[in-house]
Amino acid sequence: MPYVQNTDEDRDAMLAAIGAPSVAALFESIPAEIRFTGELDLPKALSEPEMMAHAQELSAANESLDSKICFAGGGMYDHYIPPVVDFISGRSEFYTSYTPYQAEASQGNLQVFYEYQSLICQLTGMEVANASLYDGATALAEAVLMAQNIVRQDAVAISAGVHPEYIQTIRTYVQYLDAPLSDIALENGVTSHESLASALQSDSPPRVVVVQQPNFYGGIEDLESLAQLAHGAGALLVVSANPIALALLKSPGECGADIVSGEAQCLGIPPALGGPGLGMLATRDKHVRKIPGRIVGQTRHERGDRAYVLTLQTREQHIKRERATSNICTNHALLALRATVYLSALGKQGLRKVAALCTQKAHQLAALLKQGGVEPVSSSSYFNEFVIDCGKPATGVVTDLLEKGFLAGVPLGQFDESRANELLVCATEQRTQKQIQDFAAALTDVIE
């Protein structure tokens, strides 16, 4: 049996020490009428080489981003991942360790989380960050719950520019919590200030406003104005952000955001069918006691030096139980480590360069498409992705372009039937000039 090391001899010796006649006797506490004595409906065990061959087959039955050049974004991105990230995160002591409940035995993890928290604060412009959550969608849902908790009111207005799957997740999370959700329309590809202003002045105004930066359709929001509008009406501004974009864009913190969440897969994590991702959450110091999830703090230890420990655990479920800020027990530790290594490896200049390359390449692509008669549907500024109208179902365009070796983008019909002809196209720093030129030519060809 794989991984069980007990030999028959070992088992006999242990049974003798226990004083039990057999291993079966150790299961007598399971009532006889519910004991399962049949054969589990599982395929016969594969040996290791057989399982590897099987895994290879399954892997080969997928088209990977090595075989199709990726121009799709929509929350998961094909960015450069330096090999040091795999190397460090593959270290046994990181990979196979657990939650730092014994702090003296976990200083490696604890210091990494402290560094991660600090890096997220720098990017978001906020004062405190937690040690990560599951993904961008659940992080945003947690941010909304946290905001409602802070203002002690439940009405939330969500920009139509927020990722549709994140909006769905928020709806799921609050469905039994009596929280009125309203939409704020987009105008020319970004959140309509007029719509927000009018919502904030309505009879039952929202006290929590949610936007995404850049938004799902690629548009860069004017966070400063949105924050002013929200604060003017006594509402909090929650911003779900792309951390690589934050290397270039004014930070949400600087613009007045109250809580910042987001998906940090772009920081050194492979797309892997969308999971596991890395949820980030950051806020101002004054809200720290409402922040969900793990937080690491710096302190001292007995020999006098600096050390790190999980802190503010009274917020968490094992102490507060039903009055806890959330039910989350874990963080995406290994992925927070990857993000920490990635951000440290790229550094101040490197991340900015990656972000600049993304911007330039997306705009180069747009320029080439424009030459071919295809323009972005909105004139808003954008970072690394934008929407084009294919004039016919975008799913068909994607299929046609697969044959030419490209993953063309994200068809929007799956989120909104009225946008079935629209395609969200992305270019990261990974796209070479030749790939961009070839793609632009193939895309305009197919669209014509």
Partner: protein, 487 residues
């Protein structure tokens, strides 16, 4: 593992101009940034990320790794965490390009391998649990628990639209996530007493059941590591009252292959793939918490679901009664791959051997330590045994000191102070992957500790001594919050 100085923060290694990874220059003819994005939207100053060379970067993180205990380096008997060996071949499989470098918005026809894997994993989890349907969406156990309660709430809302089933019964021995998850679904938690073995007190349960009952949450084996002898009867009572029974599958390693939760009255259960199914803990995550349900709850499962027709797989989100999405995309796929390959290498026989050896190993430790430590429940345990350090406390040494001493002796400590119903609890879960020699060395250490408590309790002050750091000032950490480095 002994360093004379603490490892500086990465920020402290930073010097302006250092570069770890050379990046390409902009393409010829690339537009300037100011042509792309208005200056008013741009940062004036770059984010103050560190600037380090690659050697210092690597050395920093490798040194940090050496300050961790881990399964690959130490026996790690944390009760209820199931710190079993994480097979490397599973990691290898998850890193194949067709598993790691696939985009969630690729058309279904380009993801047939991934979708087939998800579908097969659902079938496998159903096979080991007896459930009719599985959702692989939840990212963690607590997330699966939240989903389980959402399913219960949605089920009742659908079948009794005017009903008032807003109470969830939770045992006094339960983990804190249980009432927290219940609150997220708008339920009120009502505590149910346990008897002296931590089994559901059926009389107390009966008195608390009624038309207001949505359901009950139970952990089985319970947090004492014992199979609840009242569970079949409790399930019947709950069902008779119109409620549903949710089981926390954290302790599934004890019973996997020995009994099927769906067959002893469980309506919905979450699995912890990072416990029972060997996916690596990674320092606290990512894990995965799939949920299994009986058929009457299937219509409410979250979207998207994997559907198979004539050997072709696709994703389906057209499920009118679904509770909705609980996260983005379709689950912690990288983790799901590892659980799948793990199960494929075990097969029906291998799965049974997991629980058999897990239970054997725990009973062996229990038998060897029961003379030296107080055993609150002197009955055969399942995959974990719970001792009380009450006897040692009388000698001035608490469970906390015992834990720190174990670190010095080269073992990660067991879970301490949980479950709450045992004083000075030490919850030991060896798992099935440890060799007898490892178990024996742990037993010897525990016996040595018990002896030292009697002979020289002063030796337990100021522990641990041989870790990179000594005891931490947690009070200071909470009082003088320093959660973020500032220049």
């Amino acid at each position: 593992m002994n360093y004379p100085e603490p490892e500086p923060l990465i920020f402290e290694h930073s010097r302006p101009g250092r570069v770890a990874v050379p990046l390409p220059e902009s393409d010829a003819g690339a537009p300037g940034l100011d042509e792309c994005i208005p200056a008013s939207m741009l940062r004036e100053e770059p984010a103050d990320l560190p600037e380090v060379g690659q050697l210092d970067l690597v050395r920093h993180f490798v040194r940090l790794s050496q300050m961790n205990m881990s399964v690959d380096t130490h026996f790690y008997p944390l009760g209820s965490c199931t710190m079993k060996y994480n097979p490397k071949v599973n990691d290898w499989a998850s890193e194949l390009p067709g598993m790691a470098r696939i985009h969630p918005y690729q058309p279904d026809e380009t993801l047939q391998g991934a979708l087939a894997l998800l579908h097969s994993l659902e079938n496998a989890l159903a096979a080991v649990s007896g459930f009719d349907a599985i959702s692989l969406q939840p990212a963690a156990g607590a997330h699966g628990e939240f989903l389980g309660l959402l399913l219960i709430r949605s089920y009742h809302k659908h079948h009794e639209p005017d009903g008032e089933r807003l109470e969830i019964l939770i045992p006094d021995s339960a983990h804190g996530t249980n009432p927290a998850s219940a609150a997220l679904c708008g339920f009120k938690s009502v505590q149910v007493n346990s008897d002296e073995f931590g089994f559901v007190d059926l009389e107390d349960l009966c008195s608390k059941l009624g038309p207001q009952t949505a359901g009950m949450m139970i952990t089985n084996p319970n947090t004492l590591g014992l199979f609840d002898q009242n569970i079949v009867r409790a399930a019947a009572m709950i069902h008779e009252a119109g409620g549903l029974l949710y089981m926390d599958g954290a302790n599934f390693n004890a019973i996997v292959g020995q009994c099927l939760p769906a067959e002893f009255g469980i309506d919905v259960m979450h699995f912890n793939l990072h416990k029972t199914f060997s996916t690596p803990h990674g320092g606290g995550g990512p894990g995965s918490g799939p949920v299994g349900v009986v058929s009457r709850l299937e219509p409410f499962l979250p979207v998207p679901r994997v559907v198979e027709e004539d050997g072709v797989y696709r994703l389906d989100s057209d499920l009118p009664l679904s509770v909705g999405r609980v996260r983005s995309f379709m689950g912690n796929f990288g983790i799901l791959v590892r659980a799948y390959t793990y199960i494929m290498m075990h097969g029906p026989e291998g799965i049974r051997r997991i629980s058999e050896n897990a239970v054997l190993n725990a009973n062996y430790i229990m038998a060897k330590l029961k003379d030296a430590y107080d055993l609150p429940y002197d009955v055969p345990c399942m995959h974990e045994c719970v001792f009380s350090a009450d006897r040692q406390k009388k000698g001035g040494v608490r469970a906390l000191e015992i834990a720190k001493k174990l670190l010095d002796l080269g073992f990660h400590a067991p879970t301490i102070y949980f479950p709450l119903i045992v004083h000075e609890a030490l919850m030991i879960e060896p798992t099935e992957t440890e060799s007898k020699e490892t178990l024996d060395s742990f037993i010897d250490a525990m016996l040595q500790i018990a002896q030292e408590v009697e002979e020289n309790p002063a030796a337990f002050e100021n522990l641990p001594q041989s870790m990179p750091v000594g005891r931490l000032d947690e009070v200071k950490a909470a009082r003088e919050l320093q959660l973020c480095w500032r220049a």
